[in-house]
Amino acid sequence: MPRINHPWTLGIAGVALVLLLWAGVSNSGLVDRLFLPTPQAVWTAAQGQWSSGMLVRDALASIQRVFLGFALSAGLALPIGIAMGSNTVICRLLEPLMGLIRYMPAPAFIPLLIIYFGLEELPKVLLIFIGTFFFNTLMIMDAVKFVPHELIETARTLGGRQLPILTRVVAPYIAPQVLDTYRINMASAWNLVIVAELVAATEGLGKRISLAQRFLRTDEIFLGLIVIGLIGLLIDLGFRALMRRSCAWAN
């Protein structure tokens, strides 16, 4: 018997409720199956796409784009965010610029990216980069600004110079917040990869959804949405686990 007070019990119950509701309504014939496919139909579609290898290929294509774009964004945001947070000159130089670009919706860059880089992988990866880099950087900058100055001054009185202070005091202090920043902005990366694939791609979960739309295959659209959601959830849980393991002191 699952215990009712386990933290996951209610969450699982919520998901089960929606699934039941969906199964009930779609099987009752109240709604046209073209609009609301049954769970069984979605499951069949999943089996089909799984056995043909399409599901895995699509998922891998999307994951690879997200991974490349986000790794680039996260990797650059860390040093630049730390530099902005710890140096007023750099901050004053870059913050207004980033604050401005941050509010330009990333999908609006798609036409430019296509003109510049064509329809290959690069524009999709860059779109994810553009859509997450400025948020990542500014959030890391904020985290740096809130490092208690006693911690920095203690290091200085112990003979610490600027670079060791950044790597050995600032970086470990902000680590939990950086992981949380990445976790939050990862969601935008997933939004963007789907948007990019809707526009132009040969494979990917977003591409599959837009093809399904063309042939009115709502079961495949449902499947795509569910798979995207599940992968996102797994990544989110992964970040949480990483944070728990590497930053036990912050809990």
């Binding site: 001054e153 009185t157 470990p172 202090y173």
Partner: protein, 256 residues
């Protein structure tokens, strides 16, 4: 070691908004001495400490150590802050080792000295604990061990026990006294607790507020072997009362 503070003034802000926080402070501190500065809140005690630590520059005047002007922070002046300043992600031992590893000392030496100083502050058993698993008093002892391990020539203590409750405070005062008499270090203690100053220091300077300036200096040379008795000895209480009334007379608008 000879710390010379000469005519040091500190002003914050510019023009009409300028505020004089310290006015012509002068004193000396030699190896083996324990000096305390006592003043009410806002009399510029922490500011003075930060000037000596090199975290801030005096507006006028000079601060020298063995004749060399202080140009910035350095490991020759170990500082213990008012608020807890341990690195929360490091264990007690790693905190103690932190300064030594910044100095690039050999691993083995760091390990030995860490164990030694944890022993000195009585926390050998807590070596692997994180700061949040330590009580306030233990945390400040780790902070003191960390400062000592970096081999400072003078220990700067800015209200190190200010956040502790009274019983732990007394134990910590006895601990600090033992530590100082064993190491023969030069120590500068800042506090608003007159009893603490008189118990620990050979010399006590009284700071008047707004702007902070030294208005009285006393040499304190009673027998400290039994601190509990000293706290209630008539001579001690008389000196304490005399200085307390001096401090009271310095409060602005003393009618409140």
């Amino acid at each position: 070691m000879h710390l010379q503070v000469e005519n040091v003034s500190k002003r914050f802000g510019h023009g009409t908004a300028a505020k004089l926080v310290l006015d012509q402070i002068s004193f000396d501190l030699h190896s083996g001495e324990f000096l305390a500065l006592v003043g009410s809140s806002g009399s510029g005690k922490s500011t003075l400490m930060r000037l000596i630590a090199g975290l801030e520059r005096p507006s006028t005047g000079s601060i020298r150590i063995d004749g060399q002007p202080v140009r910035g922070p350095g490991s020759d002046r170990g500082m213990v802050f008012q608020k807890y300043s341990l690195y929360p992600w490091l264990t007690a031992a790693q905190n103690v080792a932190f300064g030594m590893s910044l100095q690039g000392r050999p691993r083995l030496e760091i390990r030995e000295r860490t164990a030694y100083f944890l022993e000195v502050v009585g926390l050998a058993d807590a070596a692997r604990r994180l700061p949040r698993e330590l009580s306030g008093g233990m945390q400040q002892r780790v902070a003191i061990a960390r400062a000592l391990a970096a081999e400072p020539r003078v220990l700067l203590l800015d209200e190190p026990f200010g956040a502790l409750d009274i019983q732990i405070r007394e134990t910590m005062q006895e601990f600090l006294h033992r530590l100082w008499s064993q190491t023969g270090l030069a120590a500068l203690l800042i506090t608003h607790d007159l009893e603490e100053a008189l118990l620990l220091a050979n010399r006590v300077h009284i700071l008047a507020p707004s702007p902070g300036r030294i208005v009285r200096s006393v040499v304190v040379d009673h027998d400290r072997s039994a601190m509990g008795q000293l706290r209630v000895s008539p001579a001690f209480l008389a000196l304490r009362e005399e200085l307390a009334s001096c401090l009271r007379s310095l409060e602005p608008a003393s009618g409140r």
